[in-house]
Symmetry: C2
Subunit: 498 residues, 2 copies
């Protein structure tokens, strides 16, 4: 039986999350449905909603009630965790002036639209003025949020990975870099860095869409609480646990782009649908961090989706569905395409070996931009230098260079490292599952995902924001943050004979 105070707090928290949910819908719609001409009004409407959110989250009466509620709540209870997480978000909100908060949402919406235009015209100048303004505002935001001893970058990293420090991150990333470089070297030395051969036929878009719609429920995604659309860049946006939206894009000459995007976004979607209904529209029905979020997508996309056992079960189905393109291709020839490792300019097309090098590159550049060590006008040449150093290539086009990702245009500085955290954690999850389920490989081969989904639900999804990301992963897998599991997994899959 909730007290009057707690009922009141619960109602106000739901109210805050209702506005957040509304902002999510506007974001999804802007990507998927909004006509171009609606852009500037949309930016304004979203900044007004951000203003409403700001006022609600910084209301002094609410903050006082939160304080009392936390003191009265039973320590270690879900309710206590819910209030503490809410308080954390509100305190961070409080440190950002209302006008800055609204300006950030406004500038990010416009910069994203400018980014789309710059990509269409191959003209960075359409993007750079808005981007410069956005970087300026993000620095202001970081200055409001920074704690003693933190760097500006670290302050923004907290938005996506609460509690994470550069001191914890850097040694792991260094170990990872060394390991990845040595794997790439070994593949290069044995002439195994090869782009995938093209498919001998095509995959009609409508058939791809049908297949993927049917695939989603098989991995546990409920279509009654979600949907699948097409967009220029695949993403997942959840309004709340009961309305989770995934997007993919289709290439008719290559099924794998959409297929692996679907497994990836499906993994994100399972997380969002997996919170407990009783906590809907509260921090307890919210991802603990983006790193953990990415661990869910990469677990399905890579750990499961690029395993031989998965395709032993799945490939015959796929062959039947696309006889023209796949009829003449045996499983090994198909796996050659699924697991080709080769340097590529594009992050989202990168294989799982080189992928994290793309992230490390961005991680370093965005720190320099935010700390004022790299001007936005010098970004292109800095980018190209790094691409040469890591991948021995120069992008042909801006859209394959620093304009390839929307993140910076959306103001998401500090977001990229969470991708790598997700990869590291996904391998730890796989390792823990193999211990837990002696028949793990057969379950994957047979598409018998029930126990796997149940494990993820209980250990990762349902706890919401009760623990920090590092604590959650420790409790789920028994392991500390590190690169070891991931490197071992890659070496097994890519260096040992299969």
């Amino acid at each position: 039986m909730l007290s009057e105070l707690n009922r009141n707090l619960h109602e106000q928290i739901r109210s805050i999350y209702a506005i957040r949910s509304s902002l999510s819908l506007h974001g999804w719609d802007q990507e998927c449905k909004m006509p171009l001409g609606g852009g500037s009004t949309r930016a304004y409407v979203m900044s007004e909603l951000a203003g409403v959110l700001h006022k609600t989250m910084t209301d002094s009466d609410f903050l006082l009630k939160l304080e009392i509620g936390i003191k009265e709540a039973e320590p270690l209870s879900e309710w206590h965790a819910c209030l503490v997480a809410m308080q954390r978000d509100c305190v961070r909100k409080q440190r950002i002036p209302l006008d800055l908060d609204k300006s950030l949402v406004h500038a990010a919406s416009l910069a994203q639209q400018a980014w789309v235009e710059a990509r269409q015209h191959g003209d960075a100048q359409k993007f750079l003025p808005m981007f410069r303004q956005l970087v300026h505002l993000k620095r202001e935001e970081a200055q409001c949020l920074v704690a003693p001893g933190q760097s500006l970058y670290e302050a923004l990293l907290q938005t996506y990975e609460p509690g994470m420090t550069l001191a914890a991150l850097e040694p792991v990333f260094d170990e990872l870099e060394q390991g990845l470089t040595s794997i790439v070297e070994e593949l290069r030395a044995s002439n195994r860095l090869q782009p995938p051969p093209p498919f001998p036929g095509t995959f009609p878009k409508a058939k791809q869409a049908q297949f993927l719609h049917d695939l989603l429920p098989r991995i546990g995604f409920e279509m009654s609480r979600g949907r699948l659309d097409e967009s220029a860049h695949p993403f997942t946006e959840a309004m709340n646990r009961n309305d989770v939206r995934l997007t993919v894009r289709y290439q008719e000459d290559n099924l794998l782009d959409a297929y692996f995007s679907l497994l990836h976004e499906g993994g994100h979607g399972l997380y969002e649908q997996g919170f407990l209904d009783e906590w809907n529209l509260t921090p307890m029905a919210e991802a603990v961090s983006l790193g953990v979020h990415e661990s869910q997508s990469r677990f399905w996309e890579n750990c499961i989706g690029r395993s031989r056992e998965y395709w032993e079960g799945e490939y015959p189905l796929l062959q039947q569905y696309f006889p023209e393109a796949l009829g003449s291709l045996n499983l090994d020839a198909f796996l050659l395409r699924v697991r080709a490792v080769h340097p590529s300019p594009i992050r989202v097309q990168a294989d799982e070996v080189t992928y994290n090098l793309h992230i490390l590159l961005r991680f370093r550049l965005e720190r320099m931009i935010l700390e004022g060590e790299l001007g936005v006008d010098d970004l292109e040449s800095a980018w190209n230098n790094e691409m040469q150093r890591w991948f021995w290539l120069t992008p042909d086009h801006l859209n394959e260079g620093y304009l390839q990702d929307v993140h910076w245009a959306a103001g998401l500085f500090g977001y990229f490292p969470t991708y790598t955290l997700g990869n590291l954690w996904s391998a730890q999850i796989r390792e823990a599952m193999i211990i837990q389920f002696p028949r793990y490989h057969e379950m994957v081969r047979d598409g018998h995902f029930g126990p796997i989904i149940q494990w993820l639900r209980e250990k990762i999804h349902q706890p919401g924001r009760k623990l920090s990301s590092v604590e959650l992963m420790r409790s789920a897998t028994g392991m500390e943050l590190g690169a070891e599991s991931f490197l071992k997994y890659l070496r097994e899959r890519y260096l040992l004979p299969q």
Copy 2:
């Protein structure tokens, strides 16, 4: 140069319209995209937004500023009209308690979802409990809004047709009923009440969609500021003048359903896109009334779209596009289908002669429901009695009976009569245009719509809410509200030899 006060007022008005715009997006999305399982959370999110809107519109500081602003504004100026319209809406909002306002939005969202379910299962019991609750809340709302001497129904009518009274409406509706009944009698006597013959071929959905997407710009709708989707029931929803969304539905055996829906929704869309950009997100970029809104849709759908001259120009195009279904059908045979008059249980499929009888039926029933003279449990039998009396038929199914329209499920009591007002005004607009443009018929035949669109823009769209609907139509057409033009137009088209 705006004063500080006026700048402030303008910003606050835009802020209010930003929340309204956000509610529109949620409504559109609920109809077109939302997964079923997202329904109850959506209802909650919308009621929270309604709460934000309520608080913003009833803020005493804002209302005080509005008062001063109106006194200071130049009488008869656009700015004065903008403030007066805003004040009217705020004062009405003030009369409805916050909790009731939120409950209304919540109940309407749920009742609409229950309506969808009841239709799916052919089971009124899935709808009636939610509907009863909604009627109860609408009566409460009416009691808050009712002015001395007004009926409850009249109080709600003001929401959609500000300034309209039953005293003005009823004699016009009576005249209309007499006129329509006599036209129907004459057609019946000469055996000309005949359903349209089926088409000799089909119209593939994808081709229909392509044709209609191409048609929209030809009637002046800008695709860069709007979009066209498919939904169970055609509608138009504008987020603002720069983001106007139309929907139609496709029937492969009958192109006319989608085609005329498109002209209809296109007319609504032109109105929404036609406001001046400088007034975007204010009452001056908002329809003066739903009656005037409907005059725009019916002008395109019927006055233009069912005229012989329109099809003289358009039909060859259509025949070329759908040779299988239309190749063997000459213009007269096609017009027979476009203009078939016959009693039908379904309002949205009704011809333009019997259409307003459907409205009069609903107008009478909804008054009785709202005034407490008819219980929701007795609605079905009352409906069926009226259908017998007017159309000599009984609906086969609830979905062809009182569950056919979403309006009552959405709480839109007092909305239906605006459809008939729109029909009456559309005929007056046509009459005024024929006087204004001696070559009107040729313009329509040649698809030379520029001057017609310009006339509508200047006389109807751009004034926003500066005048009342009756004043606006008087200033545009020189005519008073009445049924004469409409009846004359129907008699010419349906009783005279063509």
